[in-house]
């Protein structure tokens, strides 16, 4: 710029408050075009994007919450089941233990009973055998005594020596019979 410019400018002395009509027109039209584009394109797209995001985020949060809840429920369920299973196992173990003890007790009792029974039976049998042996012995002794008596009487009449001999033989018989009976 030089001094002539300055003088020219001072002479014209543009008032900054006086508008250039073309500028009013240009600004008005420019703004109208911009507003039209914003109304038709920009604002709806931004609103849509905003809505989409809100939906997505809210949906995501809800989904996450649901998943969390489900997981917690499942965990609680599992814990309950685990507790139940433990209790059950304990119960079974206790049962088994008491049952085992019971069985052992039963078996012991049974064995004792059996032993008692067997020994009683044996006793009874021995008793019976003894009775039978006594009875049989009494019969035998009677018979033998009679026999012996008849023989002694018979022999005595013939010979003393012979009588002696008969007596010995009888005693021997008796002895052998007795040992046979004992061995029986």
């Amino acid at each position: 710029m030089n001094s002539t410019d300055f003088i020219l400018a001072a002479e014209e002395s543009v008032n900054p408050l006086l508008p250039n009509p073309w500028e009013i027109l240009a600004t008005g039209v420019g703004f109208a075009v911009l507003l039209f584009i914003v109304i038709k394109v920009i604002a709806p797209k931004f609103e849509q994007a905003y809505e989409d995001r809100v939906t997505a985020i809210e949906g995501g949060l809800e989904k996450a919450e649901a998943a969390q809840k489900e997981a917690e429920e499942t965990l609680a369920q599992y814990k309950a089941q685990l507790l139940e299973a433990r209790t059950e196992a304990n119960r079974i173990r206790e049962e088994a233990r008491s049952e085992g003890a019971q069985i052992l007790e039963d078996l012991k009792t049974k064995a004792t009973d059996e032993a008692t029974r067997i020994s009683e039976q044996a006793q009874r049998q021995i008793q019976a055998e003894r009775v039978a042996a006594q009875a049989s012995l009494r019969t035998d002794v009677g018979t033998l005594a009679t026999e012996l008596a008849s023989k002694i009487v018979d022999e005595a009449l013939k010979d003393d020596a012979r009588a002696q001999h008969v007596v010995d033989r009888f005693l021997n018989d008796l002895e052998s019979q007795q040992s046979a009976g004992a061995s029986n």
Binding site: N2, A9, P16, N20, G28, A43, Q48, A49
Partner: protein, 270 residues
Amino acid sequence: MFAFALPMASEEGGFIPPTVHDTHLPEIFPWAAEYGTGFGKQMLMIALSVVLISWFFTTAIKNPKLVPGKMQYLAESGYAFVRNGIGRDIIGEKNFRPWIPLLFATFFFVLLNNLFGAIPFLQLPSFSHAGSAYAMAIIIYGTWIAVGLKNHGIRYFKLAVTPPGVSPVMLILLVPLEIISNFIVRPLTHSLRLMATMLAGHIIVMLAASGARYLIVVQDQLALNGVGVLVIVGYVAMYFLELLIMVLQAFVFTLLTAIYIQGAIEADAH
């Protein structure tokens, strides 16, 4: 330093501070008669802003992803800022939805055109030209009056100028004031606030640039050249302040738009 520089300057032709005139660049198609009244760079930038905003936001949201990329995230943050930070907070949950596009377009239209002032080569905030600011203010003005009429009928004008709970005597005083403040001053302040801050910022840029150029290039003394460098350093701080003001003014302009619309919708609620 200026006192030292200026007497010398007057001898050599001197330092010429930039004027408002300089914010009007030569027209590209000078079909209007007066200088500064044709189709120029400023209007091209308006068109450029429309193209850039449309391109950026349509591209960013063309294939919206649930987890946004960088570009989509940036665009969505901008959209959400206007939608929730301005629209929903001011107009209210019930009524704000139809006004999102208007607020969105207003905010980014003003923001980008302001930021043009901070981009080298463009280096001109479109709204430092009164015409553009007036155009926006007129559009908003027409909009909120139409909203008021649509929601409340012709009674809207009565509602708008009579504050409730005021004695009739006070109303005689208040009604003219309300008419002036709501229907005359409001659109003017709405547009001039934007235009004046942008123009001031732009003049600071021009002043710093031409001043630094004058001090460094035209002056021979080393000390003055050094001061010129200081001017540039100071200008960098001003540049960031300007950036802040550009964003802030775009926000304020849109916020006021929302407040006016809210006031028109709920004229009977206060």
